[in-house]
């Protein structure tokens, strides 16, 4: 018996150890356990399929096809989501409008992240006067509430950007405008976080070492410090998409968002809220775009929550 046991113990000692999991694999495991985040990811994937895959079934011409004889029809077999004020099919418009809303969300978030990371990194790394100036500027932008800034900027740039043609489709110039101004008004929070991270990471030994051996500043920033600050950046980017979609909906509601002929979920809602008749008697008109916005933002929020947990397990939720 003893010999058998000692044999098995001895055997065990010579088995190779299993490889330790990398950070990525650990994060992915944690993420998978977060049920809501997975649900959010799935829902988001479905929405993307709806918006971009839907083009295989319904052409853009169909989405823009007006027929004044069937204005404001309730949902039916032919028009599952009903028709709008000029007889266009709402289902098709949610597909094409969704493309724009999602694209605006992603682009605006990217613009915001780019600016935020740039300013935060420069301020945190160089410190001193550069830090002082950039942080004062950040505070100045922070001081004005985002919606006010958006309104004033939307007014300033309005009409200065002509319609653009991309891939055979014509977009109102206001799409680019909205992306730019939402990006320009949403970078401040990330800049602060990135700066704080840079400030603390700058003093770590491996950075001091890199400096000592003469690595150029740009290389240090991009290849050494930045990868270690990815966690808040990713989370901020994800939630930034949700914020951008909501911001677009807000400005469109107030009339200064994306202009016709381009449809977005936001400006479909604006049109819907401008008549008592439509609120009360044509609820399909505002319900569907609103529902899509809520679903998208919800799934992104779930996703972001899950990402935050997965990438930074010290936070408690």
């Amino acid at each position: 018996m003893e010999i058998a046991e000692s044999n098995s113990i001895t055997n065990m000692q010579f088995e190779p150890e299993t490889k330790p999991l990398t950070f990525r694999e650990l994060s992915w495991r944690r993420f998978r356990r977060h049920k809501m985040a997975m649900a959010g990811a799935v829902m988001l994937a479905l929405l993307v399929v709806y918006c971009f895959g839907g083009t295989l079934f319904l052409t853009e011409e169909y989405a823009n096809f007006t027929d004044t004889k069937i204005i404001l029809q309730p949902p039916s077999a032919e028009h599952p989501f009903g028709t709008d004020t000029v007889g266009r099919d709402i289902l098709a418009r949610t597909i094409y409008g969704g493309q724009i809303s999602l694209l605006i969300g992603i682009s605006a978030a990217m613009v915001g992240v780019l600016i935020g990371v740039l300013i935060g990194a420069l301020a945190g790394y160089y410190g001193g006067l550069v830090d002082g100036i950039l942080m004062r500027f950040t505070e100045a932008m922070f001081t004005i509430p985002q919606l006010f800034l958006l309104l004033v900027m939307a007014k300033y740039f309005a009409g200065k950007i002509p319609n653009v043609q991309v891939m055979g489709r014509s977009f109102s110039g206001s799409v680019i405008l909205i992306v730019v101004i939402i990006g320009l008004t949403s970078w401040m929070y990330l800049a602060r976080i990135v700066r704080a991270d840079f400030l603390s990471l700058k003093e770590r030994e491996f950075i001091v070492a890199a400096n000592t051996i003469g690595t150029r500043n740009r290389a240090i920033i991009i290849r050494h410090i930045l990868p270690n600050t990815m966690a808040p950046i990713i989370v901020a980017a994800t939630l930034g998409v949700a914020n951008a979609i909501l911001s677009e909906a807000y400005i469109s509601f107030l009339g200064l968002g994306v202009q016709a002929p381009t449809a977005t979920w936001g400006n479909m809602l604006q049109v819907a809220s401008s008549g008592f008749h439509k609120i009360q008697n044509a609820p399909w008109f505002w319900f569907f775009p609103g529902m899509f916005i809520v679903l998208t933002v919800l799934s992104i929020n779930f996703l972001g929550d899950g990402l935050r947990d997965a990438l930074d397990p010290t936070t408690v939720t």
């Binding site: 004033v152 509601f253 933002v297």
Partner: protein, 344 residues
């Protein structure tokens, strides 16, 4: 401490200057306030020209900014259109306390217009803030204490949905449900829009009744967000060692929570809410528009679209000033509440 306060205040001054310059340039460069003065018709060229001159809109932007800042009673302006300056101006400028005259409601001081609407906004925002604080705390703590139970999950789900919704969607649905549909179904219903019913006058009960839906719309979204924050703070606090010690010492759960955990968990909430208050001054633009509340937010939207720079700049500078002051106050409050924090 006082040195810190003074330093912050001094830092705020160039900040406010930068903000005012950027915003002024944006405002003046976008749209022509004279263009919409024609009402239903387009303005006649002669009138456009005359009004642009009389209102000082034909000067270069930096001159206009200068006049806005320090007035033009030290300069002569051309009043009768012959190209020669003849009379000193009559504006004293923002730094001397005069926000200027509105371009839209000519004859009215921008400050008077803003002052008419400011109390209405405060009337909506302060109770809303109190509701938000109270309910965020209640819901967040309740949710934290019942972590992972059905109640917690339901509340979490509702919170997520809540702050994923655009505010006008919430407002519209609540208006649709509680005003239109309740009335249809014969239930007691809430009024739709406005601050009070004109036939009944501006009585406190009328105003209170009309406040319910707007406050509900704004609060529900904020509560959804803040209750999650309180919950996470609470969970973090509860997992602390000293709470474990307190429990080990035999204190009742209630004493542990209310006596120890609660205070520490709610501390960071103070910071966040303190920073939120000046944003509320912006008047929750969308809420006021939907519910026709005569506040500063609606004033802003109306006057931005008509290019009324003095009023718009006035509102923006008031908000900027409020933000700076409240940020400072919050920092001081936080230091006062938590004696371990020291500023030098």
């Amino acid at each position: 401490m006082s040195r810190y306060v003074i330093r912050r205040l001094l830092q705020a001054i160039p900040l406010l200057f930068i903000i005012s310059l950027v915003l002024f340039v944006l405002m003046r460069a976008s749209g022509d306030p004279v263009a919409t003065m024609g009402g239903r018709r387009v303005m006649r060229p002669e009138d456009r020209q005359r009004l642009a001159r009389q209102l000082g809109l034909d000067k270069p932007i930096y001159t206009q900014y200068l006049y806005w800042l320090i007035g033009n009673d030290w300069a002569t302006i051309d009043t009768d259109g012959d190209g020669e300056p003849d009379m000193p101006g009559d504006r004293r400028g923002v730094l001397r306390g005069e926000l200027g005259k509105s371009l839209v409601s000519r004859g009215k001081e921008a400050w008077d217009i803003i002052w008419e609407r400011l109390p209405n906004t405060l009337l909506l925002m302060i109770p809303a803030e109190i509701v938000i604080i109270l309910f965020s705390l209640i819901v967040g703590i309740f949710s934290a204490l019942r972590q992972y139970t059905l109640a917690d999950n339901v509340i979490t789900a509702i919170s997520f949905i809540g702050y994923s919704m655009p505010i006008f969607f919430v407002a519209l649905i609540s208006m649709y449900l509680f005003s239109v549909k309740f009335k249809e179904w014969g239930l007691p219903f809430l009024p739709t829009v406005g601050m009070f019913d004109p036939k009944l006058g501006k009585t406190p009960s009328q105003v209170a009744l009309h406040m319910v839906l707007p406050i509900f719309s704004m609060a529900s979204i904020s509560i959804a967000g803040y209750s999650r924050y309180v919950r996470s703070q609470m969970l973090e606090t509860i997992s602390q060692d000293y709470i474990r010690t307190a429990r080990a010492k035999g204190l009742s759960e209630r004493a542990v929570i209310s006596g120890h955990a609660l205070k520490n968990a709610s501390l960071p909430l103070v910071t966040i809410i303190g920073l939120d208050i000046p944003l509320l001054l912006g008047g929750a633009i969308v809420t006021e528009t939907i519910f026709a509340w005569p506040g500063m937010g609606r004033l802003f939207v109306d006057h931005v679209s008509r290019g009324d720079t003095p009023v718009v700049m006035g509102i923006l500078m008031i908000i900027a000033l409020a933000v700076v002051i409240f940020q400072l106050l919050t920092d001081i409050l936080y230091a006062w509440l938590d004696p371990r924090i020291r500023y030098e």
